[in-house]
Symmetry: C2
Subunit: 91 residues, 2 copies
Amino acid sequence: MAEERVVYVGNKPVMNYVLAVLTQFNEGASEVVIKARGKAISRAVDVAEIVRNRFMPNVDVKDIKIDTEELVSEGRSVNVSTIEIVLVKKE
Amino acid sequence: MAEERVVYVGNKPVMNYVLAVLTQFNEGASEVVIKARGKAISRAVDVAEIVRNRFMPNVDVKDIKIDTEELVSEGRSVNVSTIEIVLVKKE
């Protein structure tokens, strides 16, 4: 099952998301996409860096994309930045 | 003077950095690199997105890199994530 899996990063402690990424790779994913928006973007970068540097040196950053999402909150629209970090396991 | 300029994003309001990037492009830079670390990473992404979407539709994200820096603080070393977003002006 070499499909792509997604881990959404929010406001929990960073190691929760690191563990989620490691679990995906250990279950056979060849790529894991880390997604976050707003203030959680910094934490998403931390997750990618900790996975690569501390746990899986055979994982590389394949691609990073940033974008803007329009959220509607109480009738007003607010723009929120998003990030997608694609991690790939080297064979 | 089509050289590369750098804007370091910190804790000031996001529009300060947007203005800094716009100024660099208006002074003739062909590329502007937005750099940040730690919690300012989210703001750096906001800066890139606001420049592109609201002020300069002819500017593209050319490359995004993430990395880790080791800071020594009171004798202890702390790892901090960093981001570099390269914006380029299309001709």
